[in-house]
Symmetry: C2
Subunit: 136 residues, 2 copies
Amino acid sequence: MNNSDLKKAGLKITLPRVKILEILEKARDRHLSAEDIYTILNESGEEIGLATVYRVLTQFEEAKLVIRHHFSEGHSVFELDLGTHHDHLVCVKCGHVEEFVDELIEKRQKAVAENAGFCMTDHSLNIYGICKACQM
Amino acid sequence: MNNSDLKKAGLKITLPRVKILEILEKARDRHLSAEDIYTILNESGEEIGLATVYRVLTQFEEAKLVIRHHFSEGHSVFELDLGTHHDHLVCVKCGHVEEFVDELIEKRQKAVAENAGFCMTDHSLNIYGICKACQM
DNA sequence: ATTAAAAGTGCGATTTTTTGCATGATTGAA
DNA sequence: TTCAATCATGCAAAAAATCGCACTTTTAAT
Ligand SMILES: [Zn+2]
Ligand SMILES: [Zn+2]
Ligand SMILES: [Zn+2]
Ligand SMILES: [Zn+2]
């Protein structure tokens, strides 16, 4: 995910966008909220407004550069959209996220939707629990 | 879901609570947001503040009288907790909700969590799409 | 019925997220 | 490089969600 992806999406290459992409690149083990990203920017000395962070994330979502998730905490969290669908295991203690794909589940979902006469456009499956590290 | 359920939960029986329960009872084919409920209350002439609606719904959630969902629209929606777990098909056009349980999916989820060393506490599976009625 | 303790409500204030607008940066063409 | 068009940004204002507090209502004991 880099400047040429921004270009392709019709977005100008600006400092806030580049920095926010960088932050998302580095956050592989957890998904970040707009506040989280704003805090990280502040701590690294960037003077980027909170409104800009929200706006950029929404634009990235529309451009399919990031995926927005609604985990049970309430506020949105974001991850880079690397194009490969996956679902999530979320630790309710530490926020750690693990990704998984279960083909059988995927298949059954399609069947469920078809059965109900729904034309499925998307789905989200989150498994909440206590991760290995937090159990100790 | 009635006054005795409120009592059991240690909640006093008050007009806002009774009315909100009634509204949730009637909304079987869709899940309502706090705003939705506030609007319905207003239209039926009840002078109940929006803050109260938010508060009551949160109390109901804590008392396990309702379940809070985070569908992709962003804001929370609520349904009565009738004690039987189910997942959701959500129409992205009209908000219609259908419930389902797929034992195979449930079983696989447990396996996925176990595999990752997570102690599963909960899960949420939402299938988004266009419902039968909206396809016509 | 009366009454006091406890809990709930409405209102306004606060926090969180989004939006509008004037200013500033980026881009491609000259 | 220079420049104009276009798009982004920061700030402040607005909207959405939550919280604090003074005032009611509920409840259960008298
Ligand atoms: Zn999936
Ligand atoms: Zn953990
Ligand atoms: Zn992910
Ligand atoms: Zn529909």
